[in-house]
Subunit: 362 residues, 2 copies
């Protein structure tokens, strides 16, 4: 994973260093495909292709995925694999996922299953994708029955996170993405919490140095956790901080009312409430962390009842065999997994969150 | 991999030995799914469930795939994964593929991608699946553009090949499956060639001991080759003996005129012709091996022109970057891969095959 400015302009040689030469013996070119969204391609397609032109390599063949969770489907995967075959793709082809988290998830899954696997490279274009979804090797799509129910584990050959591309990211998406960094700080990096408290203005103004610091810390945290637990045994569970209630909110609102980061932000508020009641954080720690979450808001209001949210937690995919796993922060910069959160504790936390959604942070 | 008689009747305890207890703590049962065809389930479903009943475990939830290559699609995979979710499947679930090669390929792929992978067990019911497709970990489905273009590598936790189940296998399918054993003998096992020459009557009469001997030798050969080369670098290529022209025949006849084993049988005849011209086999070896192929026929007549077959070899997925890889036997019991078979050599071989299809073996 490489984070920096101007990576897009030097992509072709960087990719060659990661996956090997794009021009094969006898002048035959390796087929390179890029999966992207029409919007990103209109903004950044030219910059993306420039380094291929300069290297005398045919620019990648563009494949498109329209934005929106509703296209993260098996149907899209089928269409894309067929397009790759028809464009001459084979086992030696390379796929570049150039877009946000959905493009990365779908592109990675296409790479994982096309001819039983071809190499792929991530070039994430959203803050969230740069700090989170392009890492860890989880790829896949949704079913109508739930998110990410079909997929694979496949590590990209390289991840190039160009901070310059964030310049055209909508403000709301940047803020939602930053929630992953807030999460990273709370569960694993006390210094990141302090940095995000002290430099909120610079970060939200997208000052490259500030963004680079936040991205680097977030990525380091996730990479370390994932490296130590690639297939989700134990430690990796802590990355789900805020996700039990966050997923429930997304499900209860059918993934339409808010961005993933916003749902996780509310989920973190609920989890903080459980932690406070259990005493794994103090009252002043809770106040400080809640304030940090809201600093990167505004968060959307919640037009959903406690009962619906609670019902939705029951079908959370992360709850294996019905056990209600829950990630709780321990002070600031540490976290643990508990399996004995009661229905009453959860209810109190969800109600607290709904009260806060009326009175704060929105 | 276990081959024998009566395995079906003792399946539940065998599966538990391979994947762990099916009854979890607190009496909670692991959800077990079985993917099968309506035909197989009607014939063998009761026997399949009996051992679960005896062990006091809920019988597996049956999912169905109608027979035929036309159902080996992404669409079927989507339907099946959705059925599994709706029936309460989760990461702890187990999938058993109980059927022929298509059920195994589709079932294995569903297991590989459902929630990014759940364990699966193969219980192959055709000769071909018992000696070939249930082994090696290749799983996947077709695209309209070609066979097996989408898939994964995933090893089953166990393979139980019950010879008793072959009792209801149609004769033509048995004969087509035996071509894989003929192939195994030619490329790697001279003793198997002799056994299949000397005991053809017993094998075709499905005498358990004779079948067991053939299956065991075929499986041993494939397992050894696959173990030494899991991801298809070099050695594993020899398993494609007969497949260059075999696949072309299937494609040229749109997979409707013949079974896979029948196409491979004709493909072996073509490959023998190339080998004979190059001198890697003698004239009498060629005669002997061709006779063996026809002994396990009849093979279907070929209503296709040499030109169409030759055109179809050009799009053979196994030819990376346009190189025409070809597996040639070296004497009896050995084989090698060459990459320099000329268009003229291939044409001569295909024409020889078409002549033989009019005069012999059908």
């Amino acid at each position: 994973m490489l984070t920096g400015s101007g990576l897009l302009e030097t992509l072709a040689p960087r990719i060659e260093r990661a996956v090997g030469p794009l021009l094969l013996h006898g002048g035959q070119a390796r087929r390179v495909f890029v999966l992207t969204s029409p919007q990103i391609w209109a903004l950044w397609g030219e910059a993306f292709c420039a380094s291929f032109d300069r290297a005398g390599i045919e620019p990648p063949i563009a494949l498109f995925l329209p934005p929106g969770e509703e296209h993260k489907t098996i149907k899209s995967v089928e269409r894309l694999t067929r397009e790759i075959v028809r464009a001459g793709g084979d086992r030696g082809s390379l796929l570049i996922a150039f877009g946000g988290g959905i493009v990365g998830d779908v592109g990675g899954f296409v790479a994982a299953i096309f001819m039983r696997g071809i190499p792929y490279v991530q070039v994430p274009t959203t803050f969230l994708a740069q700090v989170d979804s392009s890492l860890g090797g989880k790829v896949g799509v949704n079913l109508p029955e739930g998110k990410n129910l079909v997929g694979n584990f496949l590590q990209p050959k390289a991840v190039f996170a160009d901070i310059g591309v964030l310049g055209t990211l909508p403000d709301r998406e940047l803020r939602a993405g930053l929630m992953e960094s807030v999460k990273a700080g709370i569960i694993r990096d006390r210094a990141l919490v302090r940095f995000m408290e002290e430099h909120a203005d610079a970060i939200l103004a997208r000052e490259p140095k500030a963004l680079e610091r936040v991205i680097a810390a977030s990525v380091r945290m996730k990479a370390e956790v994932v490296r130590r637990d690639e297939r989700e045994g134990g430690l990796r569970m802590i990355l789900n901080f805020g996700h039990t209630v966050g997923h429930a909110l997304e499900q209860a609102t059918r993934y339409k009312a808010m961005l993933h980061g916003e749902a996780v932000a509310w989920g973190m508020v609920a989890a903080l409430a459980v932690a406070r009641r259990r005493g794994t954080i103090t009252g002043s720690q809770m106040e400080r962390l809640e304030k940090l979450v809201y600093r990167y808001g505004p968060l959307p209001r919640l037009k959903v009842s406690a009962a619906r949210v609670l019902a939705a937690t029951g079908s959370d995919k992360k709850n294996m065999g019905g056990v209600r796993r829950f990630v709780l922060p321990i002070g600031i910069g540490d976290a643990g997994v508990v399996e004995d959160v009661t229905a009453a504790e959860l209810e109190a936390a969800v109600k607290y969150m709904l009260v806060r959604a009326r009175t704060a942070g929105t």
